[in-house]
């Protein structure tokens, strides 16, 4: 897994609450046996018209948000199916971090394991950042994981919570399976109990 320490990137606001993983990556794209190739299908049904052309009204297709790497969305982002294809698609599209007032449980776990940072901030902060991203072309945020802070262009910092272990794994790009396997004797002892 790629390590996450600091990131500065363009912000795109997705003004929706309860974005489910069926929207993030629709089921017709879950038949691949590889981990790659999902980015082009991110938000497929919102992003493309019936004829396959990009939907000019969908926010990701607006030229000003091309190459955005930070997504802002409404409450309960990533609800529904446990498909890890959702964070794969977000990451392969180019997102490094998602900002929302809250996340669904399984989705949040899946993000950490793929080097994407899900950042929960108070609803009023999300609303104001989202407004800035709409009002100010080229609006960027800086994310400092070590400091657990989202820093605005004017220097305002918003701190966020993250578990120590998740933080450690992200900062070091650590393979969690390797972590657990170092306790093989504990696992064996449990099995023999």
């Amino acid at each position: 897994m790629e390590a996450f320490k600091e990131h500065v990137g363009l912000v795109v606001p997705l003004d929706r609450i309860n974005v489910d993983t069926d929207q993030i990556i629709p089921k017709q794209f879950l038949k691949r046996i590889e981990r790659t190739g999902f980015g082009e299908f991110l938000f497929n049904d919102w992003r493309y018209l019936e004829n396959g052309e990009p939907n000019p009204e969908f926010v990701l297709n607006l030229p000003r948000y091309a190459n955005a790497s930070i997504l802002i969305a409404g409450v309960n982002f990533g609800c529904g199916s446990s498909r890890e294809h959702a964070p794969w698609a977000l990451q392969q599209y180019g997102f490094k971090a998602i900002l929302a007032p809250s996340f669904a449980d399984i989705f949040r776990n899946n993000c950490y394991k793929n080097g994407i940072l899900p950042i929960a901030l108070p609803a009023d902060v999300i609303t104001s950042l989202s407004q800035e991203a709409q009002d100010t072309e080229g609006y960027q945020l800086m994310i400092d994981l070590e400091q657990q802070s989202v820093i605005c262009p004017d220097g305002t910092a918003h701190n966020f919570e993250i578990g120590d272990f998740e933080k450690y794994c992200l900062l070091n790009g650590l393979d969690e399976i390797g972590w657990t396997l170092q306790f093989e004797t504990d696992i064996a002892a449990f099995e023999n109990r």
Binding site: D15, R16, I17, N18, D20, D22, Q23, P26, K27, Q28, L30, K31, R32, I33, E34, R35, D45, E50, G74, V75, N76, C79, G80, S81, S82, R83, E84, H85, P87, S102, A104, D105, I106, N109, N110, K113, N114, G163, D164, F165, D175, E176, I177, W179, T180, L181, F183, D186, I187, F190, E191
Partner: protein
């Protein structure tokens, strides 16, 4: 004396390591695997030269993208076929038992687990599917995981897990006639919202829950995830022990008696407290129908499509507007005035034998309304055989329903069973998200009885009036 909830007991009994400054390591007793979320996990094992630690605790089947038409015909979707082939190869390579498409045990992973007795009270069970919460109906701690976690469990038989909050949802009283387990859970989600259970493991308690059969309890636990809960569970009782007795992988003879003694220690201690609680009265619950694009957008069958203007927050107003536009519904429309094009009876929520019996009772001697396509997809080959032995297939066929082979089918439309754009479906499944059953398709979630009644009338109808 220390009092604990059932979740806390099972949690504690499965801790491999728990020191204050580390993420707890939880042992997993049972791992269920299917074709869609596992290929990348097996690939990860190979890349890192790792083995499956406990193939004897791992079980696989094919359900998500199997066709439900004649199994003797070749699979036309070559990408889906490749995924099934990959699962077969992975199971052979890592020595994992597989109930493949031709197996008499094949079926939806959350139907066959309990059916075969693989799911047992007091166990930890995971699967790369969010509806793994189903298995909590037997008093197991069961939850869905992502592909990285599948790989983790395959390699270590453990998961790194933080403990969840506990949430008691208590339902006392007697369910009115025509009101089902599906209506209980839809009503709960309507009350607490689709994120109302986030961060918690729900335990369903109360006399109305006790009165449910194991299959009905599965319907309730199944949709815990639709309220955002990590898991849903119901304490084992005599109903549970009777269900477990004689199941293929259940303990036998003296071992069974010993197991029952252990299971009796699982229920939440008297005086134990939960982090959150909710109480509902079963008598207040009416048949439910969803009108929007998530399971929390639900109302009584006697209700109307809501008006976005009545929503409490700007976000909810916008979400309701989006939902009504997608669903092509006007505010104030009575639910019973909504006509439908398709009916789907199936899915891990409602495809067990008792669901099919309930739907068949409604369909018996009646005909599916003109221009409506209705299909019944049993949850497993065993359910299908049982239904056929009881003549349910004939009742459905005579009424004009299609009778299919077992699988997830049009719950998520990964196989050829999908809605066409604009089609409206009464569905016994669990998710009414945009495009869930097919791009542009419109899903209304209901109970099996309501789905069958809707099929014969062509629009939603209050099952309580329909039968009387």
């Amino acid at each position: 004396m220390k009092t604990q909830t059932m979740y806390e007991k099972i949690w504690e009994a499965h801790l491999v390591r728990a020191s204050a400054d580390e993420v707890p390591i939880l042992y997993i007793d049972t791992h269920l695997v299917h074709e869609v979320t596992s290929p990348q996990a097996f690939e990860g094992l190979r890349l890192n030269n790792r083995k499956v630690r406990r193939p004897d605790l791992t079980f696989a089947t094919m359900d998500h993208n199997v066709p439900t038409t004649d199994r003797s015909l070749p699979i036309t979707d070559l990408i889906a076929a490749k995924q099934m082939e990959t699962l077969a190869e992975n199971c052979a390579e890592f020595d994992i038992p597989l109930y493949d498409i031709d197996s008499p045990e094949q079926g939806i992973v959350h139907v066959i687990g309990p059916e075969l007795g693989i799911t047992q009270p007091g166990k930890t069970l995971v699967c790369g599917d969010s509806h793994t919460s189903t298995h909590g109906a037997l008093g197991a701690l069961a939850f869905g995981i992502g592909t990285s976690e599948i790989e983790h469990v395959l390699a270590t038989q453990c998961l790194l897990q933080q403990k969840s909050d506990t949430f008691e949802i208590r339902i006392d009283g007697t369910l009115p006639y025509g009101v089902t387990a599906k209506d209980i859970i839809l009503s709960i989600i309507g009350h607490i919202g689709i994120d109302g259970g986030n961060g918690a493991v729900v335990e369903y308690t109360g006399s109305a829950i006790r009165a449910l059969s194991i299959e009905e309890r599965m319907t309730v636990c199944n949709m815990s995830i639709e309220a955002g809960a990590r898991a849903g569970m119901i304490a084992p009782d005599d109903t549970t022990y009777e269900y477990m007795a004689g199941k293929r992988f259940a303990p036998k003879g003296e071992e069974f008696d010993a197991a029952v003694e252990h299971w009796k220690e699982l229920p939440t201690d008297e005086g134990a407290t939960y982090d959150r609680t909710l109480q509902l009265n079963a008598a207040d619950i009416a048949p439910q129908v969803t009108w929007g694009t998530n399971p929390g957008m639900v109302t009584d069958v006697t209700g109307r499509v809501p008006d976005p203007a009545d929503m409490a927050t700007a976000d909810e107003k916008t979400a309701t507007e989006h939902a009504l536009a997608y669903m092509d519904l006007k505010p104030g429309t009575p639910i019973t005035d909504i006509p439908i094009d398709r009916v789907f009876i199936g899915s891990c929520t409602n495809s067990r034998i008792s669901d099919l019996r309930a739907a068949a009772e409604v369909a018996k001697g009646r005909k599916v309304a003109e221009n409506i396509n209705a299909m019944v997809v049993p949850g497993s080959q065993a359910v299908k055989r049982q239904a056929e032995a009881e003549g349910l297939d004939q009742i459905f066929r005579d009424a004009g329903f299609e009778w299919r082979e077992a699988g997830c089918s049009m719950c998520l439309g990964m196989n050829p069973d999908t809605l066409m754009p604009g089609q409206r479906c009464a569905s016994t499944s669990n998710r009414n998200f945009e495009g869930r059953q097919g791009k542009g398709g419109r899903t209304h979630l209901v109970s099996p009885q309501m789905a069958a009644a809707t099929a014969v009338t062509g629009h939603f109808i209050d099952i309580r009036e329909f039968s009387s």
